[in-house]
Amino acid sequence: MRSVAGFGTAERDTSMQTVFSIAIDALAYGMALFIICIGLSLTMGLMRVVNLAHGAFAMIAGYIASYAVRDLGIGYVVAILLAIAGTVAISIPLERLLYRRIYGSPQLTQVLMTIGITFCVIGITNYFFGPTLKTIPLPAALSQPVDLGFRSVAAHRLFVMACGAVVALGLWFFIEKTAFGIRLRATVDNASISEALGIRTQAVYTISFAIAMGLAAFGGVVGAEFLPIEPYYALRYMVTFLVVVSVGGAGSIPGALIACLVLGAVDTTGRYLMPEFGNFFFYAAVIAIVWVFPRGLLGKAQ
């Protein structure tokens, strides 16, 4: 009798461990998605630009970071900062020259323009850096496994989760509590009145765009362990980013966070339980969520 009972407990322990283990994986993956996607949520929700080239900027950052760490031997954290700065520096002239023309344009025009930009970025990257994968070596502290008691987790995954939390809180504070956030929201609500009130809306747009690109860059580098950097990155994950942002409700930080965590959890659990139908779970969840929340989880009414 005792042995049977003992066996039962062991069985339950293992299954609990499995649930925890899956939850941790799901959280890490969801947070990585969140960091990359939140910038897109801002551009789509606040600036009303369907920026399909978002992934292209994340990819540019990945290349910069990879080059910095591998070829210049710069430290990981400095490389992240460098990648963000570099990506923003590249994005600002693009905003001036190209994006400014499509603010307020029909969505389809924006799609055409940003797909064009994506193609160019892919082509140019391929030309200069070749088609191979580029890794961003992690510092020793992040590449070790950390023992959580019931299993070991790569320290990098914990780092990603922490980054996600910091980004979510920081961004929330920035948009809700700072003077710039107020200007940004005012500009979004009514650009012409804001302009009349003395807000320099063009500058607000430029800065918002730069912030969104900075977030893309951060996400591209930090998330590279999940979504490896290669020239086709920009197209390969375009759909995932677009889906996640829309499901969350464009422009909503908590919405994007919930969407990433929910979809991350569905994806991870689905792939564990029935890997052969992994994509079915993900997209069925997307359809179900959109069916119940036609404007996205926390999307605002038109």
């Binding site: 323009m113 797909i115 193609f119 160019c120 889906v243 404007r295 996205g296």
Partner: protein, 335 residues
């Protein structure tokens, strides 16, 4: 009821005729262009046939995007349904080409019914995402059902019988091209009638303001669904044509990539005119073909530049640009 009862209007409106004339010219131009293509590029007919199949997809997409205002990135579902239906029928012994086209059209219409039913639930961005989810699910389903579809290896071994029992689908692709051209012209004329019909006007109205249409006493969703079915019918013809002419059906025919390409071609040409769909397909595919032949390794950048240039130079699409040139005074108000 006095207003309605009065039958003798003071002034009489002249008959409408200009638009009809324009459309006759347009159809003749398409047919002439097609025949010219046959003689100018006798060695590129397979490519041109593929162009026609994709033009049919773009036309079908225009019905939904341009006339109903529904953005979709999953339209290849309808194309793929037609292609696979024709392909599976052909592998199972149904080799008569026109029957295969009909089978494709019906399958496409069925897929349109399913897709429309799901997509009409949402609006805007959420709708776009639904379309993506649907095309991914169908793609996955086609991959899973490899016993019927050949999965990722593609459905091969289609041996299509000769058209009318006489004209073989051969290496040079003349039969396939001419069949495609005739289908394109017929479909185009049919669609011109449909978009000019009361139903077409109703859909244009729904695109601009569904609430107004409801206040006029017309249902919105059933009409949009109807357009989805028509759109599926056209896309299904395109898919079946692709299956017949290439004798292989691959997963790419039901992919997000194909859907996105079709949308790019359509927007490039200009939405809501039907001409834009054809012009966009010719420009995109022609440009891609030329630059990828010149430099097979780095042509993608050039295509990107083309798209950006079009947005800057002709935000309404290339046919919009043409419209402005055609009647510089008339259409200034479009924004």
């Amino acid at each position: 009821m006095q207003l309605v009862a009065r039958t003798n209007p003071v002034k009489t409106l002249p008959a409408t005729g200009g638009q009809v004339l324009r459309d006759v010219v347009g159809v003749v131009a398409i047919a002439a262009l097609g025949v010219a293509g046959y003689f100018l590029f006798p060695d590129n007919l397979a490519l041109l046939t593929r162009l026609i199949a994709l033009a049919l997809l773009a036309l079908s997409l225009d019905l939904v995007v341009g006339y109903c205002g529904i953005a979709t990135l999953g339209h290849a579902v309808l194309f793929g349904a037609g292609a696979y239906a024709a392909g599976i029928a052909c592998v199972n012994g149904m080799t008569e080409p026109l029957t295969l086209i009909a089978i494709g059209a019906i399958a496409g219409a069925g897929a349109g019914l399913v897709m429309g039913t799901i997509m009409l639930r949402a609006h805007g961005l959420a709708q776009l995402v639904l379309s993506i989810a649907i095309v991914q699910l169908f793609h996955e389903a086609a991959n899973k059902a490899s016993a019927y579809t050949g999965g990722s290896d593609g459905l091969a071994g289609l041996s299509v019988g000769p058209l009318f029992g006489v004209f073989e689908f051969d290496l040079w692709g003349r039969t396939a091209y001419l069949l495609g051209l005739v289908l394109l012209v017929v479909v185009f004329i049919g669609l011109k009638f449909i978009v000019a019909s009361p139903f077409g006007m109703l859909c244009r109205g729904i695109k601009e303001d569904p609430i107004r249409i409801r206040a006029m006493g017309a249902f919105v969703a059933p009409n949009l669904l109807k357009m989805f079915v028509i759109s599926g019918f056209v896309a299904g013809i395109g898919g079946a044509l692709a299956a017949i002419s290439t004798q292989v059906v691959g997963l790419d025919s039901i992919s997000f990539e194909l859907s996105a390409n079709a949308l790019v071609m359509l927007v490039l040409g200009g939405i809501g005119t039907l001409y834009g769909a054809i012009v966009g397909t010719i420009i995109f595919m022609g440009f891609e073909h030329i630059v990828s032949a010149i430099n097979p390794f780095h042509w993608m950048t050039m295509v990107g530049v083309l798209l950006i240039a079009v947005v800057i130079a002709a935000p309404q699409g290339v046919s919009g640009l043409f419209d402005r040139l055609w009647s510089p005074a008339g259409r200034g108000g479009r924004s």
